[in-house]
């Protein structure tokens, strides 16, 4: 559905997108994850034909977005970041305008509008001025606009940005539901969002793709171990120092003490398991150990590791 190869976008004095390539297959929900300023919006604007790339190519459903932009744009339902809308139009009017603009006429337009209003739960707001709507409803109007012409591909730039938790949950549910019949590319800087909604994640940082895989695989294969929590009956300082001396242990954090019991969180190097070493150490020193538990890496760990460490390549 989307084929991007070697896409580069340079602004004056900075490269926002640096030779990225990726594909999105029909039917997938793909999350575009990256911290602010990573280049997500820039990539999306190129994909939707709003700005051209400095070099590289992008195909949408077999149409080159630069050469056949109108044909490609016909296939895309796009919701820009911050959902720009006309405040002085009514919801119904706005959707009607957008439907006509996308080439729908007569009954087709009417049905499209009715369906979009239904799907996005806007029936009560259909005659309201857009300017009076809450942020959550504005987002839904943007979404209704994006899917009004029943496009194969939905591109949503930070669809839950600025919503309260209830609204976020509703929007996510809607996205999941839409995912059954559309290919979706959503950009976000919120991890739990991709973990919950996406089949595949592309992690973008400083204009480069750092990883692209299913959320599960990312967690499994990436060079990150989780952390281990232990509760031990020993003098806190001595125990901490001893654990730190175990090879491959990177960090020992004292969490709390409860009488003679102390809780530690231990972080070790990626892909290693130091639980055995800790147990051995406790035995050698005759420290009582009442809990040892390894927490699997979360996507958050992956994300932090990928986007905070200086790029290795």
């Amino acid at each position: 559905m989307i084929k991007v190869s070697n896409l580069t976008k340079r602004f004056v004095g900075r490269t926002a997108v640096d030779a990225i390539s990726f594909n999105v297959e029909p039917g997938e929900i793909v999350g575009f994850l990256g911290p602010n300023g990573a280049g997500k919006t820039t990539t999306i604007r190129i994909l939707t034909g709003y700005m051209p790339a400095t070099s590289g190519s992008a195909m949408i459903a077999g149409h080159d977005i630069f050469k056949e932009s109108l044909k490609a744009q016909q296939r895309i339902g796009y919701m820009p970041e911050n959902v720009p809308l006309y405040d002085d139009m009514r919801v119904k009017e706005y959707l009607r305008f957008r439907a006509l603009l996308k080439g729908m006429r007569g009954r087709e337009a009417k049905n499209g509008i009715a369906e979009a209003i239904d799907l996005c739960g806007l029936s009560e707001m259909r005659s309201k001025m857009i300017g009076t709507l809450s942020k959550g409803y504005r987002q839904r109007v943007g979404l209704a606009d994006a899917l009004i012409h029943n496009p194969e591909l939905l591109i949503l730039d930070e669809p839950t940005n600025g919503l309260d938790p209830n609204q976020i949950r509703r929007v996510r549910k809607l996205i999941k539901q839409l995912g059954l019949s559309h290919t979706i590319l959503i950009s976000t800087h919120i991890l739990s969002e991709v973990e919950m909604t996406c089949d595949r994640v592309i992690i973008l940082d400083r204009g480069k793709i750092r990883a692209a895989d299913t959320p599960k695989n990312l967690i499994k294969h990436l060079r990150t171990a989780g952390h281990i929590s232990i509760e031990i009956n020993a003098a806190a300082d001595i125990a901490a120092n001893a654990i730190k001396k175990i090879p491959r242990v990177k960090k020992v954090i004292k969490e709390s003490t409860e009488q003679e019991w102390t809780r530690f969180t231990v972080r070790a190097e990626s892909g290693t398991d130091v639980r055995e070493d800790i147990v051995k150490l406790a035995n050698e020193n005759n420290w009582a150990l009442r809990e040892i538990h390894s927490h699997g890496a979360s996507l958050e760990d992956v994300f932090v590791e990928l986007t905070q460490s200086p790029p290795t390549d």
Partner: protein, 272 residues
């Protein structure tokens, strides 16, 4: 000969652009939306009311003056040469053109427009034509004044040639100034900046003849520039002299300004 060729080329460009504009009906949808936003905003009605008021005043003043005795000018010339008329005139353009692109750029809706299957030329022409339509509607009430007068008067005071000339030049200068306004609005996100730029350049063009009168510049230069002076064109047209040279001049400069606006929008599209 060269003149005819210019006219033909110009006509060709205009027809080509209009065809592109009408393709698929998208242009008309945009035009409808633009007209709607004119008439749903209070600005349009305020401008309409004020222009009617000032036109009415200058018309009444002209009538009063003519009643005093024989004059060598027509009623039309009197009306359109009054100070009130020109004062009101240059406030129209900034007000009707400032929002066109500046607002879309401020709201970010230019992104939703240009990522829909819409070409920049359709967007540009829709906005321009909407402003021109509104401008034409603005002058209809004043035309009514003359028609009412005509119906009630026994003689043929408002000579038809003079009337036709006046409205032709008003339309021509209007199209030109609206094109200036479009360009100014495309250059900025800020409506006030767009309005000021438009106002300044419209007025500057109008006053070209005036400004040079007191400057010490070579006579040849002064004479050349005077050809561009709206003032002089207006006088000729009000006397009923419909000059095709002027028609070509204003149309071609409108086309030129619109094509610059087009490139500004494309550049924006590439950069924002």
């Amino acid at each position: 000969m060269a003149f005819t060729i210019t006219a033909c080329v110009l006509l060709g460009i205009i027809i080509l652009c209009l065809l592109k504009f009408l393709a698929g009906g998208t242009g008309l949808v945009l035009l409808g939306k633009e007209l709607r936003s004119f008439f749903f905003s209070p600005i349009a009605w305020v401008v309409l009311a004020l222009v009617m008021l000032l036109n009415g005043l200058s018309f009444t003043a002209a009538l009063a003056d003519l009643r005093e005795g024989e004059r060598s000018v027509t009623l039309t010339a009197y009306t359109f040469n009054s100070i009130q008329f020109w004062l009101a005139y240059f406030f129209i353009f900034p007000v009707i053109t400032m929002r066109l692109f500046a607002e879309e750029q401020k709201l970010g809706t230019i992104e939703t427009l240009l990522t829909a299957p819409v070409t920049t030329i359709q967007l540009l022409l829709a906005k321009y034509l909407a402003a021109v339509c509104f401008y034409i509607i603005l002058w209809l009430p004043s035309l009514l004044n003359f028609m009412l007068f005509q119906m009630n008067s026994t003689d043929d005071h408002a000579s038809i040639g003079s009337l036709a000339g006046s409205y032709t030049i008003i339309l021509l200068v209007g199209m030109f100034n609206i094109a200036i306004g479009c360009l100014a609005s495309a250059l900025t996100k800020n409506q006030l900046v767009a309005a000021m730029t438009c106002f300044t350049f419209c007025l500057l063009h109008f006053l070209l003849g005036f400004i040079l009168q007191n400057l010490s510049v070579p006579d040849a230069f002064r004479e050349t520039v005077t050809h561009f002076s709206t003032q002089i064109h207006v006088r000729a047209f009000i006397d009923g002299l419909i000059d095709t040279r002027q028609i070509i001049y204003y149309t071609s400069f409108s086309v030129l300004l619109l094509s610059i606006t087009y490139h500004v929008l494309e550049f924006r599209k590439w950069k924002v």
